[in-house]
């Protein structure tokens, strides 16, 4: 690991100033992904500003999970474990609970924060291998995965510059739940970004995972009131039963009126540079009876535009079956 200055920020403004003043400074929250990447010499900050050392009155609002309007506000510094198990989340947004506990391991979820989870970087093996080219790690060097081993990679939204996938689970549920991300800018101004616009597709600048500016700090994730607390399912398909990244994941949520689908959410994980919300599948489900036949049509619609790479065509069929399965579970037909 390269040398870095470790700073314990006592208040948020001081933390923001410290990061804003140094283009190579980074915030440290749970550190589970950042320290891993620093050990691998992929992230090279020369200063870490530790947010966990803020004074109690500063840290409390950042780590809180509390009612907000008819929804819930989730502090960016709350851990994944505390978030998944909070009564407000388990009762009101159980899809989010399922998604969080599908990721990582209990130890990592005890450490990882919600803000950091949103910002975790791809696990593309070429991104991690500093001996090989990667446009995300070193812009302009090329994409080793495009013609390399790309079984784990994207089938939607990729570019010639990058075929990596977003690895997280939590965000897939947040996309289905219409969350917003509250950001505090380097100048102290707050703004919110709809979760659907938070992550980017790679395009010509795969080094940018999001549109956040240097010094921006995620302070909270806002969840609106949700009609999806009854019929939901997070399905994760991976190479082993637990503690692995998704080949394909599906966050499925239904609002049912008797046997009819009033509205639906279908978000795929592990298939693109960001969680992939399928408006096509959702449109195919709206107003239709909750049945296996409807779910199959929606799954076909969701994968219609998929563009698999050399080694991941299986994700197309797997994605369809995973959608049907997740919707069957969400509607309690299976």
């Amino acid at each position: 690991m390269r040398p870095f200055k470790y700073v314990r920020a006592s208040d948020l403004d001081a933390a923001a100033l410290a990061v804003a003043a140094n283009p190579r400074a980074k915030y440290l929250a749970g550190g589970t992904n950042l320290l891993d990447l620093m050990k691998e010499d992929i992230e090279r900050p020369n200063e870490l500003v530790d947010l966990n050392r803020l004074q109690l009155n500063e840290i409390k609002p950042l780590a809180e999970i509390k009612p907000s309007g008819d929804g819930v506000s989730i502090g960016a510094l709350a851990t994944n474990t505390d978030t998944a198990n909070h009564p407000l989340i388990r009762q009101g947004y159980p899809l989010l609970t399922q998604a969080i506990v599908a990721g990582a391991s209990p130890q990592l979820r005890n450490m990882a924060t919600n803000g950091g989870n949103l910002l975790q970087r791809t696990r593309c093996p070429y991104f991690y291998d500093t001996a090989l080219p990667c446009n995300k790690r070193e812009p302009g060097t090329g994409c080793a995965a495009r013609e390399g081993l790309n079984r784990m990679h994207a089938i939607f939204g990729w570019s010639e510059k990058c075929v990596a996938t977003y690895p997280g689970d939590m965000a897939n549920a947040l996309y289905a739940l219409d969350a917003e991300v509250r950001i505090k800018g380097a100048g102290g101004r707050e703004r919110t970004i709809p979760i659907g616009e938070f992550h980017r597709l790679p395009g010509d600048t795969p080094e940018k995972d999001t549109d956040l500016e240097h010094g921006d700090l995620i302070v909270a994730i806002e969840l609106p009131g949700s009609p999806f607390a009854k019929n939901f399912h997070y399905l994760k398909v991976r190479d082993r039963a637990s503690y692995a990244f998704a080949l394909v994941a599906v966050a499925a949520a239904l609002e049912l009126d008797g046997g009819t689908i009033r509205q639906a959410r279908v978000v795929l994980g592990g298939v693109a540079h960001k969680p992939w919300r399928s408006r096509e599948a959702e449109a195919a489900l709206a107003g239709k009876p909750a049945s296996e036949e409807s779910f199959r049509r929606a799954a076909e619609a969701a994968l219609l535009e998929a563009k698999p790479l050399a080694h991941n065509a299986f994700k197309v069929e797997l994605g369809k079956r995973a959608i049907v399965r997740a919707l069957l579970r969400a509607s309690r037909l299976a």
Binding site: G31, L35, Q98, P106, M111, S242
Partner: protein, 274 residues
């Protein structure tokens, strides 16, 4: 391998190695021991391994001859952080390079080598310790970040000579083979008990909106999935954790041989050799 390897001899180090050893802040206090060890390791023909250790100590960059390296000129002690935290009940104060992770502070500075370094990147769980009672990975935790916190390692679980119930259960069920992952497994299992008491859910919990504090074997398997065991002792680990969690005692299925049995075996061996 060098056939003349003599563990009491201290071989000559190259100029680079001398410089490295002088500049390594992590070795202050344990210097001579570590230095002898490194020397011996090199003498033993494991030079590559030793160099790797040096790299792991993060010192190579500080004396790198490569003129292109931006960090080459920075002295190794530049980013010193004072850290005070409780380890197994005792307060420790350390001056550390900011890069030192909790695992290395425990092992290299405090000689608490129970916590193991497996993958060093959060994929195996061998380094699991409890921070303020919660299980975390010490390889991905900066030592500086546990300032003011309470760390419990495998060394701190027993109460004097009385083993923690989880330690006793691992022995009773023979929940390990080589033992390398065991400290992490046990610390993880201790953390699991408290999470279960709180009613935390897992990936295999059928209804996450309902609260249950009773774990099935499937629940234990999922909740222990952050701890990898290459020997495959999983069935016995699950049995051990289940017994402590549920309080349902099962009879131990093995016991140590007594002196009489040992004598008999020795005699049989001797007879067979005749």
């Amino acid at each position: 391998m060098d056939d003349d390897f003599d563990e009491t001899s201290v071989p000559e180090l190259t100029e680079d190695e001398e410089a490295l050893l002088e500049e390594m802040p992590a070795l202050t206090g344990v210097g001579p021991t570590r230095r002898t060890f490194l020397g011996q390791t090199i003498a033993g023909g494991l030079g590559l391994f030793a160099l790797d250790l040096l790299a792991f100590e993060k010192a190579l960059a500080a004396v790198s001859p490569s003129p292109g390296a931006a960090v080459a000129a920075e002295p190794a002690m530049e980013n010193l952080v004072k850290v005070a935290f409780k380890v197994n009940g005792a307060t420790k104060t350390l001056d550390l390079d900011s890069r030192v992770v909790l695992l290395d502070a425990l092992r290299e500075k405090l000689a608490l080598t129970g916590s193991k370094k497996g993958c060093d990147q959060g994929q195996c769980g061998a380094c699991t310790v409890l921070v303020d009672g919660k299980r975390v990975l010490s390889c991905l935790t900066l030592a500086a970040a546990v300032d003011g916190r309470e760390v419990t390692t495998i060394e701190g679980l027993a109460n004097g000579d009385e083993l923690h119930p989880m330690q006793a259960a691992f022995i009773k069920y023979d929940g390990f083979q080589c033992g390398y992952c065991t400290p992490g497994q046990i610390c993880s299992a201790v953390g699991l008990l408290e999470e279960a008491r709180r009613g935390d859910v897992s990936h295999v919990t059928e209804d996450v909106t309902a609260t249950s504090t009773r774990l099935s074997d499937d629940e234990i398997r999922e909740r222990m999935s952050g701890n990898i065991c290459r020997c495959g002792a999983y069935p016995k680990i699950v049995a051990a954790v289940q017994e402590v969690h549920s309080g349902r005692q099962a009879a131990q299925t093995w016991r140590y041989a007594d002196e009489q049995q040992l004598a008999r075996v020795r005699k049989e061996d001797a007879d067979a050799a005749v």
